[in-house]
Amino acid sequence: MTAILETRALCKSFGAVTAAKDLNVRITKGEVVGVIGSNGAGKTTFINMVTGYLPPSSGEILFNGRPILGHTPRAITRAGMARSFQVAQLFPELTVLDNLLIALAAAESPRPSFLRPLRTKARIARAETILEEFRVTRFRDAVVTAVPQGARKLIDIAMALIGEPQMLLLDEPTSGVSVEEKTGLMDTVMSAVRHHGVTVLFVEHDMDVVRRYVSRLLAFYSGEIIADGPPTAVLEDQKVRDLVTGHGHGKSSQKGASA
């Protein structure tokens, strides 16, 4: 199978602290990969390195077989890897529709027009389709600051997806969302992702969410990957139970792994 993303011996240190140690990850096209780990395990550092936000201390990153180490986040985005954020990164004073139109214009060209209006019929129609897909049409004309947290997370992901990336990295898509909303939110996200045929890697703390949606799971601990495989096998792994999920001593529930 073709690897869409591959990291080789990826390391990152912040002074004396090692945030990532010898990370070797190979993700193939079409996979839905989950990443779990306690706070400070290196999950977000991994996403930040892969998307160009943080330069690794050493190692290699290949996207579609091409090295992307040293590339800017925008170059990596344009190469086909988009991301969402733990705290939704939107344009707070603009409307939801304008947020999506901006994302769409950005996806169309790296050099936007000086005089062609942002609001064209074609773009609005496309943005409305995405809003419908993510079930946030009712917030179309609302300013982002007036939109609830759950909907903001969906809009954040919609903005990443509107540019038709090949791979999507979601950093804790359900963080800050109530327990009742989590399943609905993830159902919406995964349905949209499947519809667009995108490879997904997402960081998640809720083991129920992980079990429900991923085909493969990576467990991080102290900057290292301690388990990699099907979710059931990884979650049953004794090391993961002891160090990550905290259920190595016979606890029945597996929720709240990172608390």
């Binding site: 998307t51 800017t72 986040p73 925008r74 985005t77 344009r78 988009a82 991301r83 990164q89 939107l90 344009f91 707070p92 004073e93 603009l94 304008d98 139109l101 901006i102 994302a103 214009a105 950005a106 996806a107 060209s109 790296p110 050099r111 936007p112 027009s113 000086f114 005089l115 062609r116 209006p117 942002l118 609001r119 903005m159 990443a160 540019g163």
Partner: protein, 317 residues
């Protein structure tokens, strides 16, 4: 065929009314209007950057470059054609902005503001120390022609007001499109969240750079027109108080509409003229109170009076 929207039709109508009014206006008013609208173009450059989250305390740099290009074109190269002189100023400002923008767009907030001011003050220092350019006194600008037509002394002020109105209208129409177009809206997006812009695959620096160069061009046009109207240029054009005046007018008008800088420049000119007339020793205090009042009661500038009225009207209907 490009369709004009309501704002564009209103801008054209306002320009026509002002041009017609100029025909019957006294000489002092024609001069005041010309100066106010020429300076409003410089303010447009400040506002363009404010929309991107940057405050330029050095827009006087491009105002001065536009003015000196007009003055030097006539004095040293024998050029008199208004279109050529103004174009030379715009071109010179754009070239300078292309160089300075490489450094300035790396900075944000107070660092951008102070660095823009620093470049303006460097030009001021250079001009003050250049006897060939009249040093602190500056020099007079030659009489202008337009495509071979040389206006009579009596008609020249009105002709220049018309040219200023045409130039102002053209800039306003272009900026109206610009703020709704990709780069214009994306500059606002950079102000809101630069990280997200980067992760959408765009370069915030490129957007700010393009905006900076475009703002320099617009401001230089204003500088050139001011030089032609005043008939004189001096290094004061690049001094920090001049740049401060443009920021003052930008705050007075607000960033809500392309017409706001024109309205604010006019209000500023009238308030200053009458303040100097009635309280010649403390006219700055009057301006200070004016700005204080606007910031406290109209934080989004004078234009918010119109937008509030429009919103009320929409709510009522």
């Amino acid at each position: 065929m490009m369709r004009l929207d309501r704002t564009e039709l209103c801008l054209i109508a306002a320009a026509v009314v002002l041009a017609a009014g100029g025909l019957i206006a006294p000489g002092w008013l024609v001069f005041l209007l010309t100066m106010a609208f020429a300076k409003a173009l410089v303010v447009q450059g400040v506002v363009m950057q404010m929309r991107a989250g940057l405050v330029s305390f050095g827009q006087g740099l491009f105002y001065c470059v536009g003015g000196y290009a007009v003055g030097m074109g006539g004095q040293f190269f024998g050029l008199t054609d208004l279109a050529v002189l103004l174009s030379a100023g715009v071109l010179a400002a754009m070239l300078l902005a292309m160089v300075l923008g490489l450094l300035l767009t790396r900075y944000r907030d107070i660092f951008f503001a102070m660095l823009s001011l620093a470049f303006s003050m460097i030009l001021f220092g250079v001009l003050v120390k250049s006897p060939q350019l009249g040093s602190t006194d500056g020099f007079n600008v030659v009489s202008w022609t337009l495509f071979g037509w040389s206006p009579a002394k009596e008609t020249a002020p009105m002709a220049l007001l018309t040219v200023t109105l045409v130039a102002g209208l053209a800039v306003a129409l272009l900026l109206h499109r610009y703020v709704q177009a990709g780069v214009g809206v994306l500059c606002e997006a950079v102000r809101e969240n630069e990280v997200r812009v980067e992760y959408l695959g765009l370069s915030p620096r490129w957007l700010l750079y393009s905006n900076y160069v475009a703002a320099a061009a617009v401001s230089a046009l204003g500088g050139g027109l001011t030089a032609l109207a005043a008939g004189h240029i001096d290094p004061e054009m690049a001094y920090w108080t001049t740049s401060g005046e443009f920021v003052f007018i930008a705050l007075l008008g607000g960033t809500g509409h392309v017409a706001a800088p024109f309205l604010a420049a006019l209000v500023f000119a009238v308030v200053r003229t009458y303040a100097i007339e009635f309280v010649p020793h403390s006219w700055q205090m009057i301006l200070g109170f004016t700005l204080l009042g606007v910031i406290v009661f109209l934080p989004k500038g004078l234009w918010s009076l119109f937008s509030r009225a429009k919103a009320k009207g929409a709510a009522a209907s």
